[in-house]
Amino acid sequence: MTTTPPPIQVVLPPANGTGDVTSTLRATKRRLTSPWATVAAIVLATVWTIPTFGLLVTSFRPAADINSTGWWTVLTNPNFTLENYEVVLATDSSQSLLPFIINSVVITIPSVVLPIFLATLAAYSFAWMQFRGRDALFVAVFALQVVPIQVTLIPLLTIYADIGVAGTFWAVWISHTMFGLPLAVFLLHNFMREIPGELVEAARVDGAAHVTVFFRLMLPLLKPALAAFGIYQFLWVWNDLLVALTFAGSSNQVAPMTVALFNLTGTRGSQWFLLSAGAFVSIIVPAAVFLALQRYFVRGLLAGSVKG
């Protein structure tokens, strides 16, 4: 953020009477970030980070150590190993989580690509085409965001069984696509309306077909919006448990990481060496995506929630 100087120079010192007289702006900032605020922020950040840090440390400790002593004892008695990760990422072992990681990838990519494409087409027609019932239909799509997916699960399961895709990737892909559409249409429509209408009209007057306008004009301009929704949908699908549990079952053929980890937490006796390493493998992908594309994600979040 650029800090523009105030138009009128303030001669009077700020009420708290400290050094910098000219910039009330900076004084305001200082008031809001007192030393106590800094201390409080650091304490909160520490409390927020320690649980994750504890599990991360645990994932590098030998299984026997994990079950007998707390992770903080590594401070006095460091003993690390990569064994847990070797088990989790092994290509041929019954305890390996690798098939589930592959499943997560196979589930996620189409579940992000499909709704984005369909929603962009729909949002384009809602924003720039005239047809009967357009506004009513748009409101209906917007309103469908309210439907909790729980309401749809059992009837959908019946449909999938009838057409023979139950327990396959198709059931999961289609479900995520359908559930993602209302928000996607809404977000992309909002972004699309911000594009100046003259631009589209000029192209149309020049004789450009809708398909041309869509590809040449809309898609390039929409890149940030597509990225924002893509990241949003990616995190949602990668982190989903309910849809996967319902439509993918628990086998390593289709079930994603979340289901595998969920099943591990249910088994009696603490398999913390598997859980901790597995959890970190599953966390690392969305965390990396999030950190790399944070700006787009936040933008999508703001568009989604503040406009609401």
């Binding site: 079950n67 087409l121 559409l181 077909a209």
Partner: protein, 325 residues
């Protein structure tokens, strides 16, 4: 299926999808060349079709199904709904859901708001925010595992001189303080609060991000004028910051409240809904898929739907008012 098969299946699916989209666009361009004007339905059609099949029709089926018995064979009217509001087990579920919806949004929002103010304009703001925001990127399952480990309890007998070491951080803290370790996830009704902590941990980052953007949007002149008038930072917060971001506060509170209504993964992963911790979304799953009570499951799903609506209506109305001003 091995790895290669799965990846091939995925690529084929994507290719099939591309072909379908390509066909649609091809037909549209053909029609347009012939001067047809009503091509919009080709654009919006696939989405509308999927929404009818995927959301509208199933929702209707579930509403109907909620009026039938456990096997879905005979009509029993509103008996499933009366069961929810009269059976002791289901009342616990309702109580817990109310607890989640009342506690989580307020605590998460307060934490997020305070943190947003504390780090606003501070050095290293981006990093400080990422630390709080990162739990948002983690799955609820991952978050639950992280916290299950914090709460982990090792058998403890006060009469025995040497007990096993605690490996959960929270219980070790209790031991260091000279207290006895607790079964955080088993002791009713407090275990509900320990589950809620996980949701707060996740949602505070969301609240912080949105509120931080709102705070930065407050015109500098206002805070400047207030500072010149000599108000304290508490007064600035109370009389300037909070009123200025009120619409955003409503959005954040309601969004988190809706998230809490639908919370499933955390409860499922940490306690399975046992020990008096079940909530509506989890009970729906239990009744539908493990207890085999389709009717009650459907009624719980419909209840969830009904509970979400007033929150959203309130949210939209607040936004309208804010825009009208």
């Amino acid at each position: 299926m091995n790895v290669a098969d799965k990846l091939v299946a995925m690529v084929l699916a994507l290719a099939a999808f591309a072909v379908v989209i390509g066909l649609i666009l091809f037909v549209v361009s053909l029609l347009e060349r012939r001067g047809a004007r009503r091509v919009a339905w080709f654009f919006v059609g696939p989405t509308v079709l999927l929404l009818i099949v995927g959301l509208l029709y199933p929702a209707g089926r579930t509403v109907v199904r909620s009026l039938f018995d456990a096997a879905g064979s005979s009509f029993i009217g509103i008996a499933n709904y009366t069961a929810i509001f009269s059976s002791p087990d289901q009342l616990v579920v309702l109580r817990n859901t109310v607890l989640w919806v009342l506690v989580t949004p307020f605590v998460a929002t307060i934490v997020g708001l305070l943190y947003a103010i504390w780090v606003n304009g501070a050095r290293g703001e981006a990093v400080a925010k990422a630390l709080i925001f990162l739990p948002m990127a983690i799955s609820f399952v991952g978050a639950s595992i992280i916290w299950k480990f914090v709460y982990e309890y090792r058998f403890y007998d006060p009469d025995v001189r040497v007990n096993p070491e605690q490996i959960g951080l929270l219980n070790q803290l209790l031991v260091w303080l000279g207290l006895q370790p607790q079964q955080f996830l088993l002791n009713q009704p407090w275990n509900n609060l320990f589950l809620i902590v996980v949701m707060i941990w996740i949602q505070a980052g969301f609240a912080m991000t949105i509120l931080s953007a709102a705070i930065k949007a407050i015109p500098m002149e206002i805070t400047e004028a207030a500072t010149l008038d000599g108000v304290s930072s508490t007064q600035l917060f109370r009389y300037v910051t909070v009123p200025a971001i009120r619409p955003t506060l409503v959005v954040v509170l309601t969004t988190i409240a809706i998230g809490c209504l639908k919370v499933f993964d955390i409860v499922r992963t940490m306690t399975g809904g046992l020990y008096g911790t079940s909530v509506v979304a989890n009970e729906f799953y239990t009744q539908s898929f493990t207890a085999g009570n389709q009717g009650l499951g459907a009624a719980l799903a419909v209840l969830l739907f009904v509970l979400v609506i007033p929150i959203i209506v309130y949210n939209v109305r607040q936004l309208r008012q804010a825009e009208a001003r």
